[in-house]
Symmetry: C2
């Protein structure tokens, strides 16, 4: 990777780290460059504005991260309903990047920026749509295998499951990790009822 590409990536990774903890608006460009070797000149050479950097961060950092931890575990599922549960369990309890008190970077950014910035809203919507599609496809497989009733609506369940994830990330911020476990218990019950 060229030196310039490294600089760009460093900015995006540091921005992601800080925005996850402090929020997008509360993270200043000075914050981002203060803890890296990058200067303001470099920042504005690579991104013409803070917004452009934010959108690049969604596409170049968050999309790949989401694919690895939220979609890949669902592909080629032997036991579809269980794969959904295990994906959620790994996401909530095993992922070393996430910290309970800071929630989920994608959910946080939706909450803060979707109402304020249409470009952010669209980029983040695509992120969630891809996840929901993956869950839906897994459920379609479950239907084919006869693991769930053919009359159930995979898309509706995918929304229920993904929004459930969003919600428990929010609850985790006030209650801590224990509520993750309670949630997972009820999620398992819900999934096995299908």
């Amino acid at each position: 990777m060229s030196k310039a590409a490294t600089t760009r990536l460093t900015i995006l990774q540091k921005a992601f780290y800080l925005i996850y903890r402090k929020g997008y608006q509360a993270t200043s460009i000075d914050d981002i460059i203060a803890t890296t070797q990058v200067t303001k000149g470099a920042f504005f050479y690579h991104f013409k504005s803070k917004e452009e950097m934010g959108l690049a961060m969604i596409h170049e950092i968050m999309y790949p991260g989401m694919y690895a931890s939220m979609i890949k575990p669902l592909l080629d599922a032997d036991d579809p309903l269980n794969e959904i549960y295990e994906m959620m369990k790994a996401l909530l309890l095993k992922n070393p990047f996430f910290e309970v008190k800071y929630g989920c970077p994608a959910i946080n950014l939706i909450d803060e920026m979707a109402p304020l910035n249409e470009a952010f809203r669209k980029a983040l919507m695509q992120l969630i749509v891809q996840w929901q599609e993956a869950i839906k496809n897994t459920l379609l497989i479950a239907q084919k295998k006869g693991k769930i009733n053919k009359e159930l609506m995979p898309e509706q369940i995918a929304l229920f499951v993904s929004s459930g994830y969003s919600g428990i990330r929010n609850m985790g911020k006030i209650f801590g990790k224990t509520c993750y476990k309670t949630y997972l218990n009820e999620l398992k019950k819900y999934l096995l009822q299908q």
Copy 2:
């Protein structure tokens, strides 16, 4: 109400209106006073800091609002499971204050401030705990009436339902009102399965 008390309430109501739409940190004190007749001197006479005002807003504006729309509908429930569903439906589709793109004020504030400020976190936790207690009690009634299995765990279900609400408020910000209806369909299915 005395003139001073009116001033104080005006500040809190305007702050609530703006913070709901822009977030707590992004709403400046200048924003709040610019659209009222209140001056900065009055603001800092009634509140010694922005934080103190924020906490007063939680207690004096958000608590009563939460009680009216999230707890009162659950009291004296004839048909407990249905009351929970109807409360959620009214909250999502009927409440004239809420705007889909801005989500729920309480959930927004948890998302933004719980990780950053312990006093906010505690105040908001109390808010949610009270709601969960109300849901739990309704479920206990449902158990007594034989409407749900006695082996089910009301507290666990209350967490699942309340975090589901939090999550769908987040999804509404990217998908709009249609996802509320899809969510409600699945919630009804979930509740009736109990």
